[in-house]
């Protein structure tokens, strides 16, 4: 992931290559989710003969899982702050907690998807259903990749390779993780909180 050969030199911007690359990548991700959210907004009323959004969403349930995901941003900050203090033990603890909270969110999404399918909302039911599963699915994949990154950090820490001087690596993974959380705030608002049509 890191190309440390060149990062030991000072950079023009004062930001390391790795961190700047992550920022640029996240800029690109904004457009990815922007296009997916636009697609969803276009089709939120096109439920054809299938279930309508207003019939099927369980807002209290998704609010709880959203809360879980947002709390994982807090634990991510704690993980970074622990490592910056040189507190390897707490760093591992909070990395693990962050990954678990992320996994809990993904578990919630799996549960939500299966119950929707049981209630008759499949991927091919309507333009609405295709757009819904695509948007939330892409977000879920992003969270899952984040969990893989967190677990890699944790394994690397257990093998003794994640020290105070590597805290920027944790910071960069953190940037990604916070981005995915912020995107969820938009998705949650657009999909669940905006008043939804019923059939």
């Amino acid at each position: 992931m890191s190309e440390a050969a060149t990062t030991e030199h000072p950079t023009n911007t004062g930001i390391s290559h790795n961190k700047l690359a992550m920022w640029v990548f996240l800029g690109s991700e904004c457009l990815l989710f922007g296009a997916l959210i636009s697609t969803y907004l276009l089709y939120r009323n096109e439920f054809h003969t299938g279930p309508a959004p207003g019939d099927i969403f369980d807002i209290p349930f998704t609010s709880v899982s959203s809360f879980v995901l947002l709390m994982s941003s807090l634990t991510m900050v704690l993980a970074l702050s622990a490592l910056k203090r040189g507190d390897i033990r707490n760093n591992r603890l909070w990395l693990l907690t962050t990954a678990l909270l992320g996994a809990l969110f993904i578990g919630g999404q799996v549960y939500e998807f299966t119950s929707f399918v049981r209630e008759g909302l499949g991927f091919t039911t309507s333009p609405f259903s295709s757009a819904f599963f695509t948007l939330t699915g892409f977000h879920g994949i992003h969270v899952s990749l984040g969990i893989v990154m967190l677990m890699s950090l944790l394994i690397s820490s257990l093998r003794g390779n994640l020290k105070e001087k590597n805290s920027e690596t944790v910071e960069i993974v953190g940037l990604y993780w916070h981005f995915v959380d912020v995107v969820w705030i938009f998705i949650f608002t657009v999909i669940y909180l905006v008043p939804n049509p019923t059939s």
């Binding site: 992931m1 890191s2 190309e3 440390a4 050969a5 060149t6 030199h9 000072p10 950079t11 023009n12 911007t13 004062g14 930001i15 290559h17 700047l20 690359a21 640029v24 990548f25 800029g27 690109s28 991700e29 457009l31 990815l32 922007g34 296009a35 997916l36 697609t39 276009l42 089709y43 096109e46 054809h48 991927f123 091919t124 039911t125 309507s126 333009p127 259903s129 295709s130 757009a131 695509t134 890699s152």
Partner: protein
């Protein structure tokens, strides 16, 4: 494939990195930006010829009424692949070739920010290019146009696997573009030589920075569009299913939000190239450097606000049409600024018409014609008449061929000695230019008339008696003249290489050039600069050669040989080669084929990708035996004087 010697000193638990053993192994494991640039250029030229042959097939079919050379179905595949190949597999990677080779040299860096990711970009691009062309033998090439409009691209109207290859293949080349864009953005922002502030960068590097940012923001949009298409075709999603209330215009919006910035992604590198060539051969600094840079940035921004001018005839409503009509006319302003600045650079200069300069002037004149016909499209009432006619084909070939291909050829003739250490024949180069100019205008000029006469695009044949015969024949003859000019270029490359064999390399500064890349010997040594130069002004290299006497006249103060480095530094720390970019890239088309034919194929593909990613991460950053000494006297200055932006 690993047969590197096992090291006794290597750190435990990591893989060794390959060593350059010479020959092909050097090339497949290289992370050197110069070699990757050459790989990009060579591959893209091959696909340029492939796309050119497809164009010749089209012109053969249309040369006479009721043509029978291609059937309707094959015709659809050929014109689709012509567009896809020329845009994604020729023009974009050729720009990437120039960018990769020149950007680090122009900003005074030893390599790009992420050398292994750079290799990854190239191999992923090659994998995508091969994947797209595999469709010819695996069930039919894409047949829905390079724009792939829904619902025509759906499974009902395009039942062959062609559009699956299109959607997945472009997704793969898109990954390459995105990775490369992030890499070059970071390189330009972070790795400039001491003293080189953003506004001392050469115009080419500036234009490439704008292009990389356009790629960063445009590629995810086409990625989403292609995902929607793949999901619709493969998994029955309803994004473009009008029976269920879906809106096929969604595809057009997503595609053109990518597609119009893409137009500037294609043209700005060429603008950058000729902004280096014209000052050099006019013996004057570029006129209005800041205007040049800001108009490039302005084009980059405004390019996001004009996409619906591709959709004037699709019923988007009078308000949208009026708004996009206006914004399209506005974007002609920064483009016009550029053209005026090039002309003003030449004005009063001591112009030397080398082959590179001829092609650059070709860009100015031919692009202006294409730009003017573009303004006629901006007027929506006129556009309604022109939509889907050959007038549109004429317009975009004047900007893409006249603007981009001429610019890239200008770059070939200009930087050939930099890359290969010998010049291309100027005589053949000038013949190359004039033949291409004649062929180009003969091919695409008549298409304006054909379009206004009502000949529609994308038809595989036409009946006699509409007055199309003459101009189609002229265009077809012209296309073969273009092919001749490309052949002359290839002959030039071969003849010049043969002639240069055994001869000493050309001097470091054959053109009396202006920017930093010419401070290294020709061809560029592996480590680029012996010492990273400290930059004081725009056109740094030129200012080191020239000064003013007491009467204010410009006088030569140093010869090129005195200013240039001799490339003799040894032991410079360079990033080590790696296998994994290639292995990762080979996995991607397997996954693509798996999605189309049998999901089983995704397993080996996936294993290759995941495995090589892990190997990548655990591979030591450097070969432990490699040189670690920094023969770099300016390093201390580098720490102190790094410019803050």
């Amino acid at each position: 494939m690993t047969d590197t010697a096992v090291e006794t000193t290597r750190p435990i638990g990591v893989y060794t990195r390959p060593k350059g053993g010479g020959g092909w192994r050097d090339w497949v494991t290289t992370v050197d930006h110069k070699k990757i640039g050459i790989l990009y250029g060579a591959t893209a030229l091959v696909f340029f010829v492939v796309g050119g042959c497809e164009a010749l097939l089209i012109r053969l079919q249309l040369a006479t009424p009721n043509g029978t050379i291609l059937g309707a179905d094959t015709y659809n595949q050929v014109f689709t692949m012509h567009g896809v190949t020329m845009i994604f597999l020729a023009a974009m990677p050729l720009a990437a070739a120039f960018g990769n080779y020149l950007i680090p040299l122009q900003i005074g860096a030893r390599d790009v920010a992420f050398p292994r990711l750079n290799a990854l970009s190239f191999w992923v691009f090659l994998a995508g290019a091969i994947f797209l062309n595999l469709s010819w033998v695996l069930g039919g090439a894409p047949d829905g146009g390079w724009f792939g409009y829904a619902p025509n691209s759906g499974i009902i109207y395009s039942p062959s696997v062609g559009m699956d290859f299109y959607a997945i293949g472009l997704q793969i080349t898109g990954i390459a573009s995105l990775v490369s864009a992030i890499n070059l953005t970071v390189t330009i922002l972070n790795m400039r030589a001491p003293g080189m502030t953003l506004f001392k960068m050469p115009v080419f590097t500036w234009m490439m920075l704008v292009v990389q940012l356009l790629l960063v923001f445009a590629m995810p949009v086409i990625a989403v569009a292609l995902f929607l298409l793949i999901f619709s075709r493969q998994f029955g999603a309803n994004f473009f299913n009008t029976e269920m209330g879906a809106d096929p215009l969604l595809w057009q919006h997503l595609f053109w939000i990518f597609g119009h910035p893409e137009v500037y992604i294609l043209i700005l590198p060429s603008f950058g190239i000729i902004s280096e060539v014209i000052p050099t051969f006019s013996r004057k600094p570029i006129f209005g450097y800041e205007f040049m840079v800001f108009s490039g940035i302005a084009i980059g921004f405004m390019g996001w606000g004009v996409w619906a001018h591709h959709m004037f005839a699709s019923g988007i409503g009078p308000l949208s049409v009026a708004a996009f009509s206006l914004s399209t006319m506005f974007i002609a302003v920064p483009t016009g600024v550029k053209i005026l600045n090039w002309l003003a650079t030449m004005w009063g200069g001591k112009i030397k018409f080398t082959a590179a300069m001829l092609f650059a002037v070709g860009v100015i004149s031919m692009f202006t014609i294409g730009g003017l016909s573009g303004v006629t499209h901006a007027m929506s009432p006129a556009d309604t008449q022109q939509t889907d006619t050959y007038y549109v084909v004429a317009h975009f070939h004047y900007v893409i061929f006249g603007g981009i291909i001429f610019g890239l050829f200008s770059g070939f003739y200009f930087w050939w000695p930099k890359v290969f250490g010998h010049m291309l024949s100027e005589k053949l180069g000038k013949i190359n230019f004039w033949v291409m100019l004649v062929g180009f205008n003969m091919t695409f000029g008549p298409m304006h008339t054909l379009g206004l006469q009502g000949m529609s695009r994308r038809i595989d044949t036409y009946s006699p008696g509409f007055g199309f015969e003459l101009w189609n024949m002229v265009a077809s003859i012209g296309s073969f003249i273009i092919a001749t000019s490309v052949l002359i270029f290839v002959i030039n490359v071969i003849v010049s290489a043969v002639k240069a064999k055994g001869q000493p390399h050309c001097g470091p500064d054959p053109w009396d050039a202006r920017s930093l890349e010419w401070m290294t010997p020709n061809p560029t040594p592996e480590h680029n600069f012996d010492e990273v130069p400290v930059v004081e002004s725009l056109d740094e290299f030129w200012h080191r050669k020239y000064g003013t006497d007491e009467e204010g006249r410009i006088v030569r103060v140093a010869t090129a040989e005195e200013v240039c480095q001799d490339g003799s530094a040894t032991g410079v720390h360079l990033p080590s080669p790696s296998y994994w970019p290639l292995v990762f890239s080979a996995g991607l088309p397997l996954v693509g084929l798996g999605l189309i034919f049998s999901l089983w194929l995704t397993i080996p593909g996936g294993i290759m990708m995941v495995g090589s990613l892990f190997a990548w991460v655990f591979e030591p950053v450097d070969d432990p035996d490699g040189p670690h000494g920094h023969h770099d006297d300016s390093e201390e200055t580098a720490t102190e004087e790094a410019p803050v932006v």
